[in-house]
Amino acid sequence: MGGILHIAYKLLVNDRAKYAALLLGITFAVFLMIEMTSLFAGILTRSSATVINIGASIWVMDPAIQTVANTIPLPDYVLDEVRSIPGVKYAVPLYSGAALLKLPDGVYQSANIIGLDDTSLFGRPTLENGNIEDIFAENAFIAVKDSEFYKLENPKVGAEFELNDHRGVIVGIAHVASSGLFGVPTLYTTYNRALQYIPSTRFTISYLLVEPKTLADVALIKQQVKAAGYLALTKDEFIQKISSFYKYQTGVGTNMLIMTVISFIIGLSISGQTFYTFVIENLEKFGALKAIGAKGRELIVMILFQAAFVSLTGYGIGVGLCALIIWTARLYLPDYAAIITFSNLVLAFLMVIVIAAISSYVGVRKVLRIEPFDIFRG
């Protein structure tokens, strides 16, 4: 078996032009597919940045909420109601809202302000600089050092700014797991200061963050919250909901899907076409091999090997290229949101397998049909 694979390998690789065209087709398709899906995965993760960063187990919200960014304030009594549900260990309010900051040099910059519950500071970020206690100090804010940090002019502890004619002071620099999607920097402060600085509507709670006593209580909590006319979602469910919104309610998902399908079709046509020509051009040779005494099965193995070899090589190059480009892009564009996830890789791999399978199916059929007699007759 090894010998015929060696021959198959040489027939493929020594045909430089076709081999290059085959690789190009597959590499291109893999690159596009992974790039598209990675961008999408990046966007999805970022769209749930607040949920990921705050890290609460259960989020209580208005049922009409579609994304974490567009909050619908909850009345205060919901907090008491939720606190009185038996399985709830504790429940705290969270404020999340937009604000316009005036930076020291006079530049206005919009920002996302997160107000943490004053008593528990539940959902606080990890500080790189400063002390979390300082969040209670006068005018105190903590800046998040994510990809948007530079828009705050890279403040140090002690830096000042204005927010609706209030003075704000940076008392700490934090880092979080995920940057947001909307290109605005994030500042943490206390719930009460957030309300004080930012003009608010009648209701002020953006979300209720709930910790259940045990995991078994989650179902009951969800049910009770629902009975009260609100929605309780676990962290994963909320992320899922936000992702679904971007996937299905915005053009983003559809466009990504179309691009992925297009790259698949391009890859399939370039590689399929080239592989077909390759097989056709070698058809006589396969016929000669058959006449000499190669069995049909051995010819199939040769073709499958060639298809698999070129596909896997193309896949490898495509993945490598994608990783390289994303890495380079990040060097220059800190906002570049693309993550190569395991499922992206698997998806692209499956598509490559399909491309290889379709291409070799056509080749195999051709090769099995050749009559050595026709080769013999010339």
Partner: protein, 234 residues
């Protein structure tokens, strides 16, 4: 008396049906022996290639039997038939069918590789046979770099590399100029023929008749009997 290599009895082959039916080979019977070169001559379209394909296990006859060294081949399964061709028959195709992407030595080694011999070993043996046909120094070149006559010799080296008892050459001189054609067949006569081997050559090139032991003629699908016998009787 020499041993019988090929025994064909009542071979018939037709193509198509009704209006377009061509009866390409009609009731052909003959024998060929180890140690001889048998020529099959006749005009184009007389059924020579068809007949050759039937005795070498490539094309199934509509009726008749073929025995190679005493065993009937057309009762074999397809796989067994492939193995039979691989081990017993060497082919030199009219237009060579060499692989342009492989080296000359690799081309020659193909039958051994199909026999599942180790790659290096197969190449070594191929080079021995390239030496036999006088092309040792061309072993690493692709066949397209060789002249027509040299390519023909590569094809012969490939046909004999597995030491087949029967060697089939279909119009070996057709794509060569007169001299190289003659030289090739002379070479086959002098170096490739042995007591253990039967060589069947299809040709209509009368300039090479002198290298045949016997010549049979085909016309319109029928074998017209022996044209000449024991030209080179030892």
């Amino acid at each position: 008396m020499a041993r019988t290599a090929i025994e064909a009895v009542g071979l018939n082959k037709w193509f198509g049906d009704g209006e377009v039916k061509t009866h390409a080979v009609k009731d052909v019977s003959f024998e060929a022996y180890l140690g001889e070169i048998l020529y099959v001559v006749g005009p184009s379209g007389s059924g020579k290639t068809t007949m050759l394909s039937m005795i070498s296990g490539i094309l199934r006859p509509n009726s008749g039997t073929v025995k190679i060294e005493g065993s009937e081949i057309w009762s074999l399964t397809n796989d067994a038939l492939a193995d039979f061709r691989l081990h017993k028959i060497g082919f030199v195709f009219q237009d060579f069918h060499l692989f342009p992407r492989l080296t000359t030595a690799e081309n020659v080694a193909i039958p051994l590789i199909l026999q599942k011999r180790a790659w290096d070993e197969a190449l070594k043996e191929a080079e021995v046979d390239l030496e036999v046909v006088g092309l040792k120094d061309r072993a690493q070149l692709p066949p397209v770099k060789l002249s027509g006559g040299e390519q023909q010799r590569v094809a012969i080296a490939r046909a004999i590399v597995s030491r087949p008892d029967i060697l089939i050459l279909d119009e070996p001189t057709a794509s060569l100029d007169g001299d190289s054609g003659r030289n090739i067949v002379k070479f086959v006569r002098e170096h490739i023929l042995s007591d253990q081997r039967c060589i069947v050559i299809v040709t209509h090139d009368s300039r090479i008749y002198e290298f045949a032991d016997r010549i049979v003629k085909m016309e319109d699908g029928k074998m017209m009997g022996i044209e000449r016998e024991n030209l080179n009787a030892q």
